[in-house]
Symmetry: C2
Subunit: 256 residues, 2 copies
DNA sequence: GACATTCTCGTACTAAGTACGGATATACGT
DNA sequence: ACGTATATCCGTACTTAGTACGAGAATGTC
């Protein structure tokens, strides 16, 4: 997962911005396939089976090519992921109407990103550190900054708000995705799990030792149908986020 | 990373709650080491080099045992991680003073968790899905719920608020940790990176095509000293969170 | 058509997880 | 004291995955 051995940032940038560079015919053998198809296939595999299942070997097989051919196109798995990410960013919907309340726009950004993570759950697992500044990434950034125009905050704050939204959305999405994956990969039903672990769960939810955990855990589990309810977490997080932003800009303006 | 092949929840619970179960002497060879030491060593390796570097083979070597001996203690890597997590939860500080404003308490929870992720960056990478209900996890839950006592919200909401805090903190921590890792693993200085990628960065921050990105990206980068500033993200996120919670409970009460 | 250049991909090495099974040590009943 | 059941130990070996290397194949240019 963390194989950034020979990280070659310049090579990556060249690939990310491949469309903006003129291609003059050069000597040498022609390529057997387009890198777009390769990235496409990689995204498809990752969408269905997770980033871990997106192996170079599997990718090559999906493309009916021998394994090592992949390395003609990308330097390795580490380079492929940013390319995949920039590609799905590139394709995001960027057609939100402009004549709305700022709240609607924030929610829209959040939901668009949520949808992204629903379609491509692996994206939530990708680092946020120094993002790869590809065309999709920048286009997304530009679009989302525009949506925050009428917050009426200074540039730096606008960037902060956006970063914050994206971090929170990614976090909730990641939690949901992981839960999905676990549920799906567990052959055991919740029912069965409960029965099998009953003795230990009695220890965990012992009202003597952990009164609050027992009471509130039960209440929450009851109300939300499990330890973690993706939909509820989502709504809750978005509402909190809106309120938090409102307080921020309300401070700068007179009120809202 | 995602090897939950033979997930044996009952076995995991038995290990998590090992201290609460009487150990009666049984026939069979004695163990050569305590599982605590094994978990300890695993945590140490993961702290220093990340979860990916915490290999069964490496762990065995650190303990001066042959590889396969590890499997006498845990069923595999997948089982080890929840044990590590519960252990670090168990050790968290739970001595916050009770006579404070709810805000201070929320901040305290957030900071305690942040500290956890600073000491154990790998923890931020671990799934949030169905958590393993070990003694450390429950103790932490109990303690944190108690800190939210005087929010004056119902049980379900209290749980939601806590979950939300933890999700947000984990998200920011993860972003920071990943960035740290990338910076450290990149042999290249920022300066050098900038120079080498200048032509592409000109494309990315083209004021014609991406005016907002160019302007705001520059402003933010300038003000925060990079694309992502961990400290600033942290403060911003916590402030937003507090405001968001305030709005929530302010709605229930008359005001604050 | 020779040449430099680029792409193709078979071979092979490395790292890591872990299934399997024989060897070994221990508690307990006789 | 001894046999038996049982738990632990760990060497061997198989599997999956990433990828270094280098010989050969194809292609634009002079």
């Amino acid at each position: 997962m963390r194989d950034q051995k020979a990280n070659d940032p310049a090579g990556l940038m060249k690939l990310l911005w491949r469309d903006s560079v003129d291609i003059v015919p050069k000597p040498g053998r022609k390529r057997g396939l387009a890198i777009e198809g390769l990235i496409e296939a990689a995204i498809g595999i990752a969408d269905e089976h997770g980033l871990a299942a997106m192996t170079i070997r599997g990718l090559a097989a999906a493309l009916h090519k021998p394994t090592m051919t992949i390395y003609t196109y990308v330097s390795g798995k580490a380079e492929l992921v940013p390319l995949m990410l920039d590609t799905i960013y590139q394709r995001m919907d960027r057609s939100a109407p402009a004549d709305r309340d700022w709240r609607d726009k924030v929610v829209r950004i959040a939901e668009d990103n949520r949808r992204l993570f629903e379609r491509h759950p692996w994206a939530a697992d990708v680092s946020f550190g120094r993002p790869s500044l590809g065309p999709g990434t920048i286009a997304k950034y530009e679009y989302e900054l525009a949506a925050l125009e009428d917050l009426g905050v200074d540039d730096v704050t606008r960037d902060s708000v956006l970063t914050h939204i994206l971090v929170v959305v990614a976090a909730v999405a990641r939690a949901s995705a992981n839960q999905d994956l676990e549920v799906r990969s567990s052959a055991q039903s919740d029912e069965e799990w409960w029965r099998e672990n009953a003795p230990f769960l009695a220890l965990a939810f012992d009202p003597e030792k952990f009164p609050l955990a027992a009471r509130i855990g039960a209440a929450a589990g009851d109300a939300l149908g499990g330890a973690f309810n993706a939909e509820h977490s989502w709504t809750f997080a978005v509402d909190r986020m809106i309120d938090g932003i409102e307080a921020l800009i309300g401070r700068g303006r007179s009120s809202t």
